[in-house]
Amino acid sequence: MEVKGRIISINGPIVKASGLREAGMLDVVEVGELGLIGEIIRNEGDIATIQVYEDNSGMKPGEPVVSHRRPLSVELGPGLIGSIYDGIQRPLIELEKLSGAFIKRGEKTSALSKTKKWLFEPIAKKGDNVNPGQVIGEIQETGLIKSKIMVPPEISGELTFINKQNEYTIEDIIYKIKTKDGEKSFTLSNFWPVRIPRPYKEKLGMDAPLITGLRVIDTFFPISKGGTAAIPGGFGTGKTMTQHSLAKWSDADIIVYIGCGERGNEMTDVLNEFPKLVDPKSGRPIMERTILIANTSNMPVAAREVSIYTGVTIAEYFRDMGYDVAIMADSTSRWAEALRELSGRLEEMPAEEGFPAYLPTRLAEFYERASRVETLCSEYGSVSIIGAVSPPGGDFSEPVTQHTKRFIRCFWGLSKELANARHYPSIGWIASYSEYVDEVSEWWEKQNPHWREYRDNAMEILNRENRLQQIVKLVGPEALPDSQKIILRAAEMLKNAFMQQNAFDDIDMYASPGKQLNMLDIIMTFYYRTKEMIAKGIPLVKINKIKSIPQIMRMRFAVENEKLEKFNDIKEKMIQELDDIERSSK
């Protein structure tokens, strides 16, 4: 069905049209002679308000608007992985072939390749009764990921036809199902509206940590698979660097990286670097599990608004196959600003700082799409969302940060002071928190029963050091007694030898859980032991001279993830040296 109307007024990306009474709310429309993609966001009387996803200069009142009576959707099927899309799922590689290095408007191309052939292996048989979400076949999409062909949600019935194992394109008919409304044919791909969460059987608890390889996160502020986290930070504090590290090393099966209103060169950096990086588990290039969505700051603002929905819908599709998916959204503030800009053009009444009153609702809807679920096909999958927030002036009291805090359970606040001292990742341990600590404790304690105790005590040291620093600022560190100086010493070790991590060092950039545990064990053993010694009256000056300290400070660079036994030597040597001091002081 097709509904035709005409433009009556234009104000930036907001266009009003008449004659669309029969078109639905949130329908996709083709606007103007160029057929630019838009979406109906308000319909009153005979006037429909449309938000246009491409630059519409030169457009005139009187030009046509056409609705095909379907919502803004993404195409889901083989070929998603390794792709780079704009906010409305146009493949940027194909756009380059069509219009060169600059994006011309009105270019249309299919999201998935229509000519590429995929080796389909059927699982279901003709005559089977199939249910929504059931896997009827598989495709080895990349070396890392097996893509499952699932019966679309809301479809069930008898499988009347299924193609044999062979190579097919996404346009070939693969299977037919006799449904209540008659027989329907299906290909390898299908569409899903971006603003509607994909269905699942049940939401589950989240007790497995998403291992990120970043020590400050995994050990101090862990996130669960299926969890939500926010990274707020002023410019230059390393939001994007942290997001890149997470995208590289997280132990999720699939990464969806959304560059929402950020720099073009950052996406280029990802595109250059990821194909060269190798997944520590499988040894395959990490690009084989990554999907990029790039709607940079100079690309149309309305498409920026939709880009995060495009990303999360793709993530849910892989979750439904039973994969653990992690989404990096950089930055949700730019998305919120796009909402504000469009809201302003609609002349809506603003709430705080010009943001629309529905900002918290939209944020809640987005973060709620993260979860660990039992899928329709009875697999277990998860979507974790990690959103960067860019607060103006680095001030966390602004609306986007504050509202985001209400809907996430993990807060990695970046600190300007740490970034200025080039301490990366600059996640500040005083402002940050994670509500998943209790949930993931069990997992960690299976690796080392002392984990929770070490972690909590380490946090305690960092907090006490923070208070002591207030005094140090007034009287200098020399004036403190040894029992307090040891806290400064241990905190320095935790900060420089543990929490700080160099993203460019081949050994330090990723720390396996085993490496993290060993490092924490050494530092905490040092602290417990020296604390005892100081209580016995042994001066800290003596302890500070042991040769193990520089070794501990450099162990993050020195010990590879595969050679954890080296830690035993470091620990033994340290204990030996401390023993010697204690013996000689007797």
């Binding site: 009556i8 007024s9 234009i10 104000n11 930036g12 630059d55 519409n56 200069s57 030169g58 457009m59 005139k60 009142p61 009187g62 780079i84 940027l92 756009l95 380059e96 219009s99 290095a101 600059f102 994006i103 002023g234 410019f235 230059g236 560059g259 209103g261 720099r263 073009g264 060169n265 996406m267 280029t268 950096d269 595109l271 790039a294 940079t296 700051s297 100079n298 690309m299 603002v301 730019r334 600003e337 504000r340 800009e341 302003g344 603003p350 700082e353 010009g354 103006p392 002036g393 001030d395 200025n420 001292a421 080039r422 140090v472 600022k473 007034l474 200098g476 020399e478 460019f504 400070m553």
Partner: protein, 458 residues
């Protein structure tokens, strides 16, 4: 309709006029407005319905009457003519010759708004530009294709620094830069200072200038940087040149954006600036970089004066979120006559990591610069402590740090306005000041760096 002339307008409000009873007018179309004295101005359609158009006049609306004004819609977006003959010329803020010479021969007219670069077609910038300024080369390296703004305050030496960069910037391959200079609302003497610099360094034939000075209509400034960047894109991406773009002063540009927004009655976000200021600035700053279809590049150095030296003000704040780092000037250093007064800690170059080190500058460069940052950051703590307990009470080590801090500022950062330091010289001074600290304190450099460079001067 193209070329159709309308007589009489409905409303005039500051730089905005509303024309009624129009037909077939496009959004973003250029408009010619002629008052009854025959004076012409250009304008742009901001909003259009079937019967009325809201037009932004790129000039002064003084003298425009409701009745006898003639309005012509030109049926095209705002364009400037481009060709290699732009080089050596001076234009006004709207791209018309200002140097008294005839219009240049042009090959092609381009929409000043440009088109967004496909992120997939970008080439990641990684070529080191030597500016000869230690504080930049050593610690906040400028990379070809980068957008690196100077955050300054009124009265500080941002113009001198920009001019020094223009004079000294060179690539390892010794290729020359072409310079596109856009002045938005700056005083005549500032424009003259740059003109003189270009003349003296013999660069004038390689410079294109777009000048919208302080006494030109403020609305013109909305076009000026776009005209300049359109010229830059032509020279870089069609003519394969390496272009250095200086935009000064972004603060004045943002004021013009705010002015139009207020007149239109838009809902303001922070400090009265419109909510779309971020996207608007991004549409300028993102027009830098390199693409895979051309050898050329655009390196942008925007200059902005932070109102009241406040880095959290919306203009520097939004800029910092878009650009690839920032060079921040420090009032305190400036008062102590340190030139260039580049603040050590808040300055940053995001692209530095890929453009320095082995094969590009020198192997130890990333580590020594990280070490200088770390040590200088500690100096700030020691100075704060010293101001409370007095220098005498500091530990011996902290006293060394104070000494390091002073010599870092006086020897490494400070240099003569005409001094062009080679990168080796910059690193040598860096090691000289780092050697004031004991070896054990230099934990961000490698053992072999210490062996090779530590204390070589002594």
């Amino acid at each position: 309709m193209k070329g159709l002339e309308y007589r009489g307008i409905e409303t005039i409000d500051g730089p905005i006029i509303i024309v009624q009873n129009i037909k077939d007018v496009a959004y973003d179309e250029v408009v010619k407005i002629q008052d009854d004295m025959g004076k012409e101005r250009l304008g742009r359609v901001l909003e259009v319905s079937e019967t009325a158009a809201v037009v932004q006049v790129l000039g002064n609306t003084q003298g425009i009457s409701l009745e006898n004004t003639k309005v012509t819609f030109l049926g095209r977006p705002f364009e400037i003519g481009v060709s290699e003959e732009l080089l050596g010329r001076v234009f006004n803020g709207l791209g018309e010759p200002r140097d008294g010479l005839p219009k240049p021969f042009i090959k092609n007219r381009l929409n000043v708004n440009g088109m967004p670069i496909n992120p997939y077609s970008r080439v990641y910038p990684r070529d080191f530009i030597q500016t000869g300024i230690s504080a930049i080369d050593g610690l906040n390296t400028l990379i070809r294709g980068q957008k690196l703004p100077i955050f300054s305050g009124s009265g500080m030496s941002h113009n001198q620094i920009a001019a020094q960069i223009v004079r000294q910037a060179k690539l390892k391959s010794n290729e020359e830069f072409v310079i596109v200079f856009a002045a938005m609302g700056v005083k005549y003497d500032v424009a003259r200072y740059f003109l003189k610099t270009f003349q003296e360094s013999g660069a004038l034939s390689r410079v294109v200038m777009y000048l919208s000075l302080a006494d030109d209509p403020s609305i013109e400034r909305l076009i000026t940087p776009r005209a300049a960047l359109t010229a830059a894109e032509h020279l870089a991406f069609e003519k394969d040149m390496h272009v250095l773009v200086i935009l000064t002063d972004i603060t004045n540009y943002c004021e013009a954006v705010r002015e139009v927004s207020t007149v239109r009655g838009e809902i303001p976000s922070r400090k009265g600036y419109p909510g779309y200021l971020y996207s608007d600035l991004a549409s300028l700053y993102e027009r830098a970089g390199r693409i895979n279809t051309s050898e050329g590049s655009i390196t942008q150095i925007p200059i902005l004066t932070m109102p009241n030296d406040d880095i959290t003000h919306p203009i520097p704040d939004l800029t910092g979120y878009i650009t690839e780092g920032q060079i921040v000037l420090d009032r305190d250093l400036h008062q102590r006559s340190i030139y260039p007064p580049v603040a050590g800690l808040p300055s940053l170059s995001r692209l530095m990591k890929d453009g320095i080190g082995k094969g590009m500058t020198r192997d130890d460069h990333p580590r020594i610069s990280s070490q200088l940052f770390a040590a200088y950051s500690y100096v700030k703590n020691v100075r704060a402590l010293a101001s409370v307990i007095g220098e005498e009470e500091l530990s011996e080590l902290d006293k060394l740090y104070l000494k390091f801090g002073d010599s870092f500022e006086k020897e490494f950062v400070n240099q003569n306005i005409n001094e062009n330091r080679e990168i080796e010289k910059t690193l040598e001074i860096g090691w000289k000041v780092a050697s004031l600290l004991p070896k054990d304190e230099l934990y961000r450099v490698k053992e072999k760096d210490i062996e090779q460079y530590y204390g070589r001067e002594k």
